[in-house]
Symmetry: C2
Subunit: 397 residues, 2 copies
């Protein structure tokens, strides 16, 4: 294999393949691909194991609540259960799934601030005692259907430096967060902690400092008024390696530990962290195939390259070209700019048009295409049958 | 019921409820909703029957190829089969589904220009003999795997006035379309016709004139060079009634018939039309429920209203707020602007934020929300399990 084969050319940035996958594992995936029709996702459980151990080592004082929504396959959940993880669920459907794997309800938080009354009741009856909230209305809902439960209050943060920002829809301003805690106590609930989410794939670690500072101010204010919070939930947001270099998890953790020390001193509360993307993102490789390479007119320099996976088959995070996956084709040749699109009869199903990926000039129809860092937020998003295409298949390496 | 109950306040436009559904059918849907957990989609087959008859009457010379991708439920496909419709499929999965209902392969076209070789072969072996194409590479693929088949050439059109434009990804410029026809003949295929798609939910009927004019010029040019095309495929694009008034189908048809006459005179070729949205859009009502109404701070005038359906549960066409569904709540009260969002832990799952919907000031959590004109491009798009939520259920009225 020549050197040029080992470079991933995503856009203008070149990385060695080994940054994403070992030669041995890549070989296994290529073997597997010979006998299975694309597209499919392969998950490497070893990677998840490593990620879990790394995070546990780097933030030894934090409890890990894995964000089930990022990848809810039985194998992934079972592995994390065996490693001792707790779980954050976004719905009663995820809750029932996690419980069915023998996880204790005491290790599960209901992290969605948008909940039907019947769903809160269901969760409470199953033994769930920890709920996120960010509004008076939801708090009343929890107090009625999960009396006496622990609640934590999600605050708004600035997500502007995240690739997949979450700011606007969730969280509340500080004054309302304060009121929520007071109201929770009145309603017979336990005002338990504060949470925030700096946005998914957040590259600016300073965002955690801002959020931790905000939380600490509420902790103090409430304490002065007789309410002692016990927990801070740092949310998710740690980045995965896509097509740019990111800080190591250990660097993030060192900084965050410092912020916690700076703002809470010796009174460090219970710390929760909710990794999703950073726990499973780099465990996944999607294997796809080039279905068509074409031009719109005879002298076009720019090829359209159509893959057998697109926005509606699992790559919805390419919306607005937000997440730029590392894409690799085992071919030599000068890198040429292309437009990448999916297989459906829908023009929204274009992956990258403004941001130009470069692929080797020698690519051909039927070439295999490896899309790295696709373990999170892919399979679960895929449409049930748009254009008739089945949802993305998922295998374990 | 007071008059205010009968008005749909979508944004700044008010329409009587009867524009979307009869009182009798609405009553039935409300009854059904009492015993079924939301969200779900209800399809009214009578409406589809009427739409089919109307289109057949207004364009008696055109063959209807229903665009299966818009709604592929068995009941819808069976009804259209019984009415004598032909079918346009986007994949072999849709093809197999339609064939399983006893439809003759002679009534099916393979309309996707992006096709794997194995899929062309599969379709050909099943008896499909009519394929769309827009590139030399795909043409070669068809010639190898469906030797002797009829092919039609999709040209690029300007979709700018469509709510859901399709322009960039599909179609080719005229000079290449000409070449494709010549090449098809060389490859032993039958250069059969021309097609275009003016974009889905196209409100400017003039777009059909432009496209028909382009096609007629290619017909003439090819005829002078010994290739006689037999068919023109007008694609889809007829609008459905969302939150603005549209022309009647009959008005569109009269204009289009005139254009065909103007450009083809007495030599009218076989005419194909591929309705999807206009065939099934107005047959669907999604019944949802308000899960939460909240504010981001104490003095906010603007409420966030969270529904139990969002972008990933079937309303993906709210991307960029493209399709603005008529939304109805059976409550009185002053219309107030709201932000509408879905139930998942994803900030992309906001339905309408820039375009402000108005809902009655008296709305409450658990109120039923009726979303009209949701028969097309909803259920099939819904994610398989994002955040654990199951795909949208669909029932027949």
């Amino acid at each position: 294999m020549e050197k040029s084969l080992n470079i991933i050319k995503s856009g203008n940035i070149n990385f060695p393949l080994e940054d994403y996958i070992s030669a041995e594992k890549f070989k296994k995936i290529k073997e597997f691909s010979k006998t299975h029709e694309t597209p499919f996702l392969i998950i490497d459980l070893e990677r998840i194991n490593e990620n879990y151990e790394e995070l546990s080592t780097n933030l030894p004082f934090a409890k890990i609540y894995y964000a089930v929504k990022s990848n809810s396959s039985i194998e992934v959940l079972s592995l994390l259960r065996n490693l001792g993880s707790s779980f954050d669920v976004a719905s009663i459907y995820e809750l029932d799934l996690v419980l069915s794997l023998g996880v204790s309800p005491s290790k599960i938080s209901y992290g969605n601030t948008i909940k039907k009354a019947t769903h809160v009741k269901h969760a409470y009856e199953k033994g769930i005692n920890l709920f996120a909230t960010d509004s008076i209305e939801d708090l009343i809902n929890i107090s009625k259907n999960a009396p006496g439960a622990k609640v934590f209050f999600r605050i708004l943060t600035d997500n502007s430096s995240a690739d997949w920002p979450l700011s606007k829809k969730f969280g509340t301003h500080l004054d309302l967060a304060y009121d929520l805690a007071v109201k929770a106590k009145e309603l017979g609930l336990i005002p338990y902690g504060m949470s925030f989410h700096v946005g998914s794939q957040q590259k600016d670690v300073g965002q955690w400092e801002d959020a931790i500072a905000k939380c600490s101010s509420i902790f103090k204010l409430l304490k002065e008024n007789g309410i002692e919070l016990k927990m801070i939930n740092l949310g998710g947001g740690f980045p995965s390696r896509y097509n740019y270099v990111i800080n190591k998890s250990s660097e993030y953790c060192t900084e965050i530990a410092k912020y916690l020390h700076d703002y809470f001193g010796k009174d460090l509360p219970e710390v929760i962290i909710e990794p999703g993307r950073s726990m499973v993102g780099n465990s996944g490789v999607i294997v796809s195939e080039i279905v068509l390479i074409s031009k719109k007119n005879k002298i076009d320099k720019l090829n359209w390259v159509y893959l057998d996976i697109g926005k509606f088959g699992g790559l919805i995070e390419t919306l607005d070209e937000s997440i730029k996956y590392p894409i690799f084709i085992e071919k030599k040749g000068t890198p040429r700019e292309v437009i990448l699109a999916g297989p459906t009869c829908d023009s929204m199903d274009i992956l990258y048009e403004n941001y130009k990926y470069k692929l080797p000039s020698t690519i051909k129809i039927k070439d295999k295409v490896y899309i790295f860092t696709t373990g999170a937020y892919t399979q679960s998003y895929s449409s049930i049958c748009f254009n008739g295409f089945p949802p993305l298949k998922s295998y374990i390496l």
